[in-house]
Amino acid sequence: MVYARVTNSYMSASVFENTNANQARLVELQTQLATGKRVGKPSDDAVVVPSILNTQNFLAKLEVYDKNITHSMGELDVAESTLDSLVGNLQRVHELTNQASNELNSPSELKIIANEIDEIIRNVVNLANTSYNGKYIFSGNNVATPTYAVNGDDITYQGTLPTEDYQFEVQVKENLKVAINEAGVNIFGEYYQTAGMATPADPTDDVFYSNGIIGHLKELTVDLRTDPPDYNLIRGKLDVFDEDIQQTLFYQANYGNLINTLENTRNQLEKEEINAVDYKSTLEDIDLLKVSSDIQFQEIALQASLNAAARVIQPTMLNFLG
């Protein structure tokens, strides 16, 4: 057998290569362990890079949707409690109407009731003009304008009309937008007697325009102040306000349903987030157990190679020549 000529520079070069390779692998494992990431730079595993970035983008979207939901819930909560107060007011109106329909009431007593109704109308208008975060929530998209303007007897709706684009949509999920507002005029109605307003009525007509809760309340005050009073007419209003309460409860329930929907959506988002985080982790994170044991193995390999090198490099014939 012919042996290769093993020269000293060959030996030191190969010792260096081997220990260096072991050291490089060790450093790589240590970096992985320290960062917890298998993919620290794109070239570590270029194939999964788009998936990692996509998941990152997706997670960022989820975060934004979650914020949108929080913000919307705030507004919806305010709207719902506003309608709650409105129902309270309407119940009081119903009581007063019931009281007024009693024919023992004199016209002056009815006027006192009418004054209280006036107060309630002011309350209702205030409720309708509720703002959240600087936006009038019942004004449709006309957010910077108070929902109602009061001018003498006229109570005019200034928000976006239901026939126009009044809905304020919020993105709460991939491909899911919800409208979180209702046009105030649908809930509160209006009452005016002026020409030229932008309403469904013919603007050229100088007509009396009365509609919804505000309309009914205004009409009631007119009826109460009529002398002699028409008690039957007043009694007839009881059914009207019953309907108004029902309708308000309906809108309130709508807001409640929306809040529920958003809560459900939030739960879904949380689940999606957990899944996405999990997926991202399988893409880029290390298997801690495996890397730890790899490191130990690599340490042993490095020590062994250093040990062997120390034995091989040292002795020459010099050690033995006298």
Partner: protein, 527 residues
Amino acid sequence: MGNMFQGLYTSADALRLNQVAISVINNNIANMNTEGYSKQRVDLQQGHTMPGSIDEKVIVPIGGVELETITRYSNNFLEGYLRKEQGTLGYFDQMATSMSFVEGYFNELDETGITGAMTAFYAAAQELSMDPTNKITRSNFLQRAQDLATEFNSSYSRLADYRESLVGDSTTSSLNASQIKTVANEINVKLKEIATLNDDIASLTSQQNIKPNALLDQRDLLINQLSEYIPVNVDYEGSHANIYVGNIKLVEAGEQIAEFGFDMAASTFDNPAVVNITSPDGSNIYCEDYQANFPEQSGQLKALLDIGGDGVNSIFASLQDLDLLAQEFARVVNDIQVRTDATPGAEMTSACIDGSVSPQQLIQATEYIFLNVQAPGVFDSNAITASNIQVNDAVVADPYLVATAYIEADAAPFAPNDPNAIGNNDNAMAFANCRDTSILALGGFNVEDKMASMISEIGSYTSTINNSQDAQSAIVDQINEKKQMEVGVNLDQELMDLVKYQNSYNASARVFSIVNEMMQLMMSLLK
């Protein structure tokens, strides 16, 4: 024994030659770690038997020992093989270094850089859609837009600066400061040194019949170093080494007949460094464009030209990708900002807020969000690149000019009491959702996916290069080891030889002293 004095001479020669042998060993040991050193060996031969040494029927061997030559261990085949593989390694070494820089500039896995800025921009757009009338939300949206533009600018300039450090930017001053210029100079210097060495070696060999081993080592080392820059071929002609690259002769005997230079007339921004090969006085052009004529992936010079040029995996390609990305991103955003839609019966338009009147009202949006910084006031998305993208100053000055609404353009549009009023967020929503718009110019990707695919492509190319470098480095190591096995110094062997020649020296000295004693005895007989 013929002549007694002859005996003295034989011993003296032996002493002298053993001394030479020991000094060669000494030199081997001294140079055992010198780069490019080849082990040398003393070859001895038997001396000629002189006339007069014939004694009757027998020829008595009294010629003694002679120095035949001092042999240098070398293997031209291995050298050639090593040079070839070293050239390839030089290519991949340079590529790997460059790609690790480029990859570093694109390392966006930690949610920084362009990707991070895009995410923040789209999040700000969503916030804008939640609160379109809020000036702070609008400012925030524009701030994120400017952050993104700045990220585009700085990513571009970092890449462009790195490229300039490699191959310049087609100006003479930047070329002179570039790495490729240094490499070309190195090549020329080495060619010159090889030519000079050729001369020295030839004159020593032919005139004085000496083998200049040290010079031969030096020349081999130079050619080796040269092969890391360019794929050289060597043609040994007598004691000369003629150097070629491809079939272009660079060194012939003692003369450097070609040198590497730059064709500044052909230099463009796309391809700043055009390397040519000319005669030193420039009168003859042997190769007009090194990169085009030497397709082989060999040598650092070729790597610099590939990464610095305008090829597929060059930095220039990444710069172009960035430009395209910035432009298409800006186009999508600008188009949403000033969009109109002529649906029959209901013409739709984007609208921003006129904040100067009270109550605020919508007006048609005309200002772009993104502009070319060099052409402020010019609304042209085609003029936008990664290096010049910037948010329109007019919009920054008045954030209400961001078109958040998308409404029907009435006959009397945007009247103060228009029911389509300022809270409309349809256009803001469009900003937020344009992240999913697939863009034809980006190959059907949306901007984020395009960015991800760019990063992935760079990563995958880097990893290919790294693998090639690893493999090639293993090959070169192997050849180097093989070479070291053949020409390297083995200390044990040298020590053994040392003892051998020492013993021989001792013995010759002993013989000398015996002959001397014999002569003295003879002298005493004469008394």
